[in-house]
Amino acid sequence: MTVSLTNSKAVYQGIKDAGVRFLTALPETWLVYLLQMAEDDPEMTLIEVAKEEEAIGIAVGAYFAGKPNLLLMQNHGFLAAINGVVSLSMLYRVPLCMLIAHRGHWGEPYPWHTQGGIVTEPVLRSLGIPFEYARDPAKVGKQIREAHTFSLSSLSPVALLLSRDLMED
């Protein structure tokens, strides 16, 4: 199995169509094409972090600055960033739009991803973070726009889980 270039393009177009011009990310296999497209796009600023919790702070700074932005990370990175999500975004009511590669679930061949994959949805539910799964390249653009809009109107973190169906060929 390989990462889908075609569907990555659909995701990236969705990000652009949402008006986002600032991305904070930590590289991960499913996000490779997305990050390459961001690097090659003169309209986009891409900030790569050392650990995902940093990205929460950077995204909040970008929001304060009035810059439409979102985060790209793996679900394990989301798990590593939870205190930032809770004690910055939720505590201060700052919007956060997260695109999360949902590794370690149905069809996952790699054992090391599985525990994070299994707990991602229950953790999102327990935190009260609204989320949806993105599975269809024809719909993902609309889902990204809606996630971004909803984060801004609800002043809340919002997650769109990028699924295997979408990200792999």
């Binding site: 900030i47 940093e54 009035g66």
Partner: protein, 194 residues
């Protein structure tokens, strides 16, 4: 050298800058000098003040951003120094008040106590070129004046005593601080571009 005296010494210089502080003593000491709409106090999420400062500085190149950090917070997010170094916004000054103590959470010794860990060396090793290590008020004022003038990312590690205020509390709810800070930026940057 006391942190409160350092903050007081540069307070007038902060009026036209975006200021992000960490929780506890640092936030309280700045607040007690008089809250300004351009101050954001990160009362939790330890380690992320510098990350917020980075997000601000990269997106507001015409503004000056000052982060007031502490050794305990920086130790929780050492990766931030590498990210700051990589993107090095020229309009960001990162002040780290190093009291060698987790003062606001019981005064336990941090890893910087008695010089075991050298945060200035870590900042330099991360790739930040302009790093100052100061331990007197004169040197602190000189280092901040230099940082505010120059068009380069600066880190100032200020060795201070492990003492804080005798009271805590603000007449400012946390989301209110965020809403007002955002509004200040919106209105202020509008003025700048007009």
């Amino acid at each position: 050298m006391k942190r409160a005296k350092c903050i007081e010494a540069i307070y007038s210089e902060l009026q036209d800058k975006l200021v992000v502080t960490i929780m506890g003593a640092c936030a309280q000491e700045l607040y007690d000098l008089g809250h300004c709409e351009n101050f954001f106090y990160l009362e939790h999420a330890m380690g992320l003040a510098s990350s917020i400062g980075l997000g601000l500085a990269l997106n507001l190149p015409h503004e000056r951003v000052v982060v007031m950090d502490g050794d305990g917070s920086v130790l929780m997010n050492l990766g931030t120094l590498t990210t700051l170094a990589r993107y090095h916004p020229p309009n960001l000054t990162h002040i780290i008040f190093d009291n060698g103590s987790l003062l606001s959470t019981g005064g336990f010794a941090s890893h910087t106590t008695a010089g075991i860990t050298d945060l200035a060396a870590i900042a330099r090793g991360a790739g930040i070129k302009n790093v100052a290590l100061v331990s007197t008020p004169f040197d602190f004022i000189e280092a901040t004046a230099d940082a505010f003038e120059r068009n380069e990312l600066s880190v100032i590690v200020a060795k201070v005593e492990a003492v804080g205020p005798d009271h805590y509390g603000m007449d400012l709810k946390l989301p209110e601080n965020a809403f007002r800070f955002e509004r200040y930026i919106k209105e202020h940057s509008k003025i700048r571009t007009e």
